[in-house]
């Protein structure tokens, strides 16, 4: 019971003698009802979305959905192999690029930086701003970054991965900082008191304790990345791709697409078979993303330690 409701309960008890609660008058009940509706509106929409899409896509929950490439000629068996594998590849590359960088940056800011220095405050404000930059702008940046690195071709895997990594880097930094900040000061003091260095304290005490929080933030960041299409359009992903990137480094310069981009390409098609296939693919995408979110929430709720 929240403290507010505890206090309210006392008030209610005290008014029981008069036979009516002040929280039970008509306006209060209407107000509470409106709050309930607000809370469950989103859930209702989510359910409507999933049910509607699942019904529309029900004809296409078959093997071809995963094993076939996109086809306009045979729309009834068109598949999302390129998008599914592309998305998985993108996620792996994004994770490799963004997680170490993000965790390291957050570690520096929390454990090493002197917050009184102006440049550290600049980094701080900058991070907050970056988290609000539209995702499509990251696509433009990624085109430039990839060109500098030497990939001139549009629509290659590495371009998409860079765009997504840049996009989720601020998210990872911010959530990792929160996780690090939640580690009690006691632990750091004990470690410093024994003569440990800052890095020893960070590596052996702070980071291990912060792992659940970092994992939660990272999974949420990646689940955002896997659903993004806009920056990938900018880097040229999403035009009809009929291949899967080669495993390994060589695959980085292969052309690729992603599941959201394939869905986007189909959304405007008038053929009903393609809309059905897109609906089925959306369910697939949602299962992946909601699954990742569920894991993140479970980690957060399970490992939240009360110090």
């Amino acid at each position: 019971m929240s403290a507010a409701s505890a206090v309210a309960a006392q008030v209610v008890t005290s008014t029981l003698a008069s036979g009516r609660s002040k929280d039970r008058d008509l306006r209060s009940i209407l107000f509470l009802g409106a709050l309930w509706l607000s809370l469950f509106f989103g859930v209702i929409v989510l359910v409507a979305l999933i049910v509607d899409t699942a019904i529309k896509g029900s004809g296409r929950f078959d093997k071809e959905l995963v094993t076939n490439y996109a086809s306009i000629i045979f729309p009834e068996t068109t598949g999302f192999k390129a998008g599914i594998f592309g998305s998985i590849w993108l996620m792996v590359c994004t994770a490799i690029l963004a997680i170490p960088l993000g965790v390291m940056a957050a570690t520096y800011l929390e454990e090493f930086a002197d917050t009184n220095r102006w440049w550290n405050r600049v980094i701080e404000i900058n991070l907050q701003n970056l988290a609000a930059v539209p995702s499509i702008v990251y696509g433009l940046l990624a085109v430039a970054v990839v060109a500098i690195v030497g990939f001139d071709e549009k629509g290659v895997l590495i371009g998409g991965a860079v765009a997504l990594a840049l996009l989720i880097l601020p998210v990872i930094i911010i959530t990792t900082r929160e996780a690090i900040r939640a580690v009690p000061q006691d632990i750091r003091q004990a470690s410093y008191g024994l003569g440990a260095t800052t890095w020893q304290t960070t590596w052996r005490q702070v980071l291990p304790s912060a792992v659940p929080g970092i994992a939660t933030g990272t999974i949420l960041g990646l689940s955002r990345a896997i659903g993004e299409a806009a920056p990938l359009i900018i880097v040229g992903l999403g035009v009809s791709v009929l291949s899967v990137p080669e495993p390994g480094i060589a695959g980085l310069s292969d052309s690729a697409t992603s599941l959201p981009n394939q869905i986007y390409n189909l959304a405007n098609q008038s053929r009903p078979e393609l809309a059905t296939a897109a609906s089925a693919a959306i369910i697939l995408l949602l299962v992946m993303i909601l699954g990742m979110n569920a894991i993140a929430i479970l980690i957060r709720n399970k490992f939240t330690r009360s110090w």
Binding site: D114, D186, I187, Q189, G193, L194, G195
Partner: protein
């Protein structure tokens, strides 16, 4: 080991460039009998947090293999002084120290001194037991590992530290279990064992029993008396009986509010042998405090 530096005696004669109302008292500390052989001393120690003057001009000497207690009302700066003694105050943003703290003749606040090396020699036990979220064994082994101590057998070292902390018999069968499973008193003794595992010279204790029940407190006090043979111990406590029971020397601090800002600045009132300070205090403020008229 080292002769006593000829610096720390009574109040300062030379101006420190700090103008505070409390400076007007020419002689603000009564210094009684000082230890013959001091491991550490503070010399005109002033501590600031930003603009706030937390501790004013403390001159103290800590005797080898003695227990020195620092007592006084809350906000009197005793914990602040303690945290300066191994440079734990460095971790607080905005903290600044003037004067000197000499450890075997070296000013630990001098340029070129490594605070990490200082802490390897001067260990610390905190107010609230703060074991690491690791096993009992790893809690002890952590210190020796991080400072790169050469040990023949970590098992022996862990056992030795736990024995010295009078904890071995209670935990020898559950060394691999989490330290969080121990009782509060056991956790605090584990923290002491963890500190002595790195073989420090001085052990600082910041109200080590304030979170413990009376039985656990008496165990920790017994342990402190034991450890005095091998270590120099400096303990902050606001339990006067504890200071009287365990310490050889006592320093009494008080807090003086600034007349304009109302900020309370801590200062040393009296420093003497414990039995003399408690039986026959020279300063009226000490007498008021230990007789319970103030505090």
């Amino acid at each position: 080991m080292s002769t006593q530096p000829a610096t720390a005696t009574t109040s300062p004669d030379e101006p420190l460039g700090i103008s505070l109302s409390i400076d007007e008292e020419a002689k603000h500390s009564v210094i009684g009998e000082v230890p013959a052989e001091a491991v550490m001393d503070t010399y005109h120690l002033n501590v600031f947090y930003g603009d706030f003057h937390a501790v004013h001009d403390v001159n103290l000497q800590f005797g080898k293999n003695e227990i020195t207690a620092m007592i006084g009302p809350s906000g009197c700066g005793k914990s602040t002084v303690l945290r300066c003694l191994n440079r734990m105050n460095d971790l607080i943003p905005g903290a600044r120290v003037e004067g000197a703290i000499n450890y075997h003749g070296q000013n630990i606040y001098a340029k070129g001194i490594d605070p990490i090396a200082v802490r390897q020699h001067i260990g610390m036990v905190f107010q609230k037991p703060n074991p690491f979220p690791k096993s009992i064994y790893d809690n002890i082994a952590y210190g020796p590992r991080v400072i790169g101590m050469k040990v023949d057998s970590m098992d022996d070292l862990v056992e030795g530290a736990l024995r010295d902390a009078a904890l071995w018999d209670e935990v020898k069968d559950k060394l691999k279990q989490s330290a969080f499973g121990l009782s509060g008193g056991q956790q605090q003794r584990l923290c002491i064992a963890r500190t002595i595992a790195t073989k420090p010279d001085v052990i600082l204790m910041d109200e080590p029993c304030s979170a413990l029940d009376p039985i656990a407190t008496s165990k920790v006090e017994d342990l402190m008396m034991q450890l005095r043979k091998d270590y120099t111990i400096i303990v902050v406590t606001h339990n006067m009986q504890q200071a009287a029971r365990v310490s050889d020397r006592t320093a009494f601090f008080t807090a003086k509010p600034d007349e304009t800002t109302g900020n309370r600045t801590g200062l040393l009132v009296e420093f003497d042998l414990t039995k003399r300070l408690f039986s026959n205090p020279e300063d009226k403020r000490t007498e008021d405090y230990i007789s319970g008229r103030f505090g």
